[in-house]
């Protein structure tokens, strides 16, 4: 395995592990919260979801994707811009992550 691939796969494992941990913690907290209440039926949860906003909407998702994009003068590669476009693409892979995180926090 190439060094880069190895790093990617390790990163994925770490991300998955963090995700699993987060889900486990969330479940324990939710269980603790539910235990102090009477067991509810689906009927009794009426109105539950619309107390808090459900987001992002389609337009927000589209906007988010657009925010991540980089524009050039033309889609046709013109001399010397192909590499630049590629560079942008690579940059875009990094930048959106932080902008996405920022959006989530907002």
């Amino acid at each position: 395995m190439e060094e880069g691939e190895k790093l990617d796969s390790e990163k994925m494992i770490l991300e998955e592990k963090a995700e699993v941990e987060e889900l486990l913690v969330r479940f324990v907290r939710a269980l603790e919260e539910e235990q102090s209440q009477t067991r509810t039926s689906i009927q009794q949860t009426k109105g539950m979801i619309f107390k808090k906003p459900t987001s992002p909407s389609s337009t927000e998702q589209i906007r988010e994707l657009l925010d991540q994009s980089f524009s050039t003068r033309s889609t046709e590669p013109i001399e010397g811009t192909e590499e630049k476009a590629l560079e942008n693409e690579v940059l875009a892979e990094i930048i959106p992550l932080s902008s996405m995180q920022r959006n989530r926090k907002e």
Binding site: L23, G47, L66, A85, M100
Partner: protein
């Protein structure tokens, strides 16, 4: 993704299915009814259930459940109950709980489930759904970046309509059954033929023949019983008075008062009330709340009728095929969890406190006489005979019916009092039909279950207002649909989401802005016209659940969502126009045929 049958064919391949049901016992019983119906059509399903430890005893008595995973809540949360602690200690205790959970989940996670059904529709269950591996997941799940998500269309409907408190008329058992059957048809194939056994049965549970149960069985067998379910203290004295009427007018019947094992406190003090009443001892039984599930189910199964004001027994009686007579009050949300099957009755009263035992008896007597061949009298006659004030105490009385398959199937509650339809009832009927068109691809005959007699001037006035606002909504949704389709076409031509020409970027931005404006308009119209709120909530949940990693994919799903909404409002308006048309005076096409025979000569 599809579930691939092994070499020996679909019928012989076990399909491992895990149900997560952590909600109330009533919901668990509804889930079991739905699963039983599905298992009859797909006998190769191997069903496992994850439930609360309290429900373990119930589930162990269902013979077709392979495994029960009882959630050890006390054990999991024990480290968290160590009094006042520093934040570090609290964090360490939480870690301990998490470790216990991970250890418990280990063996469940190690199985690759074919189907995972989360029918609890709660936050906690959505985390479990996300954690467990499965080929097909149905119900609510969770994504770190998105929050709670719906795994399928019917879950989206449950979240936006049922949990969103919008009037609709599809029973939860029907939703769950259809949801699972649809997934099975898509991923496994058509069901096996010849599954015509009834889902409900006295033998639904394999009840243990305990000594005590034997004693009660002996006392109950060979006699006809009417059960009164305790649980709502407001009704306890009324049960005793009503039972007295039953015993005096039906000499071949006996009465049993059933404690509520799920809520033992509610039955406290009832025995004193009963002792004070002079009911004939030889025809009356009292089963305390400590009776346990076996005896409770056995007694409910042994009754001809169960009269109740609380919900879990409604599901238990439905599962066991015992007729239910329900007494409920406003606000009433029973359409989704009322009694399931043919021939159950329930009424909705204005106030349980002022409800008289005579009214309960009058309504039950009407239901009781239903299968008496000579009964020709209307409900109003029963009121006249047994309780003259009944009509002022009751809002509506319903009879359950299973629709014929050609009319859409599922349970339906037929109103029996000639009372005009409210806007909520009209909306429930129509939104139910819109959902069938969305998720089953089946459209009911327009106007089914809406009769001309049920239309009041007030309803028509509201529908005329709705005609205007829904027309506006239709325009918005049609525009949104076409904008999203054009947007999708444009996005499909992009070589990359990340690098694009400035003109493309601004064109796409413009599409996004247009959709945003239409979304805002949709919200404003639906908030200003409450009957259209269902469309807004479905839209919000749909848009929250859009999937895709690229602009093209997100826009494609968005376009599909708007198409669905636009189709829905069209169906809605067809029903609206039909209802308004129904109210218009009709010209008789063949006047001659409408003339009674003895008067026909007068017009020649």
């Amino acid at each position: 993704m599809s579930v691939t049958p092994a070499d020996d064919g679909q019928q012989n391949t076990k399909l491992q299915c895990l149900l997560i049901q952590l909600a109330s016992v009533g919901d668990l019983l509804q889930s079991l009814m739905a699963l039983r119906a599905v298992k009859q059509l797909y006998p190769n399903l191997e069903i496992h259930v994850m439930a609360r430890a309290d429900d373990y005893d119930i589930l162990k008595k269902v013979s077709w459940i392979k495994n029960v995973y009882a959630l050890p809540t006390e054990h999991l949360l024990e480290p968290l109950k160590k009094g006042r602690l520093s934040s570090d200690e609290a964090a360490e205790n939480e870690k301990q709980s998490v470790r216990r959970l991970a250890a418990w989940l280990g063996r469940i996670i190690s199985i690759r489930w074919d189907f995972l059904l989360n029918w609890s529709f709660s936050s906690s269950s959505s985390y479990l759904t996300a954690l467990l591996p499965a080929n097909i997941k149905l119900g609510l799940s969770w994504r770190i970046q998105q929050g709670m998500i719906c795994q399928d269309d019917w879950s989206l409907y449950v979240q936006s309509m049922i949990q969103g408190d919008i009037a609709q008329n599809i029973h939860l058992t029907d939703i769950l059954t259809t949801q699972f059957l649809t997934a099975l048809q898509i991923h496994v194939g058509p069901p096996s033929e010849g599954a015509n056994e009834p889902v409900t049965s006295k033998n639904f549970f394999s009840l243990i023949s305990a000594q005590e149960q034997g004693f009660w069985n002996l006392r109950m067998s060979g006699k006809k019983w009417i059960g009164f379910q305790l649980g709502d203290p407001l009704l306890h004295q009324k049960w005793i008075d009503c039972a007295s009427l039953v015993l005096s007018r039906h000499p071949d019947y006996h009465v049993v008062f059933l404690g509520d094992p799920l809520n033992p406190i509610a039955s406290e003090g009832f025995k004193d009330l009963m002792t004070a009443a002079s009911l004939p001892i030889e025809r009356t039984l009292y089963m305390g709340a400590d009776l346990g599930f076996d005896l409770w189910a056995s007694a409910v199964g042994g009754c001809q009728w169960v009269i109740t004001g609380s919900h879990p027994v409604v599901q238990l009686a439905s599962v066991l095929g015992t007729r239910v007579f329900g007494v409920f009050s406003e606000p009433f949300n029973g359409v989704e969890n009322g009694p399931y099957g043919n021939g159950h009755f329930f009424f909705v009263c204005r106030n349980k406190k002022t409800l008289s035992e005579k009214t309960i008896y009058a309504c039950w007597r009407y239901a009781f006489d239903e299968w008496v061949p000579l009964r020709v009298k209307k409900l109003e006659n029963y009121f006249e005979r047994f309780s003259k004030s009944a009509s002022s105490q009751i809002i509506q009385i319903y009879r359950s019916k299973i629709r014929p398959t050609q009319n859409g199937g599922g349970v339906y509650y037929q109103p029996l009092l000639n009372i005009p339809m409210s806007i909520d009832q009209w909306l429930a009927t129509v939104m139910g039909q819109v959902a069938r068109a969305w998720y089953c691809g089946w459209i009911a005959p327009v106007g089914q279950e809406i009769s001309r007699e049920a239309l009041s001037p007030e309803l028509l006035r509201e529908l005329r207002v709705l005609d205007e606002s829904s027309e506006l909504l239709e325009k918005i949704l049609t525009k949104a649909r076409f904008t999203a389709e054009r947007f999708h076409k444009r996005a499909s031509r992009l070589r990359s989401d990340r690098v694009m020409a400035l003109e493309d970027h601004s064109e796409i931005k413009e599409f996004g802005e247009q959709l945003k404006k239409l979304d805002d308009l949709l919200e404003r119209v639906c908030l200003a016209h409450a009957p259209l709120r269902g469309f807004l909530q479905v839209s919000q949940v749909m848009m929250h659940n859009l999937r895709g990693n690229s602009l093209k994919e997100v826009v494609r799903h968005s376009s599909e969502a708007y198409r669905k909404l636009a189709d829905g409002i069209k169906i809605f308006r067809t029903w609206l126009k039909h209802t308004l048309q129904l109210a218009k005076p009709a010209v008789l096409q063949n006047q001659k045929n409408s003339i009674p025979p003895h008067m026909s000569g007068m017009f020649e």
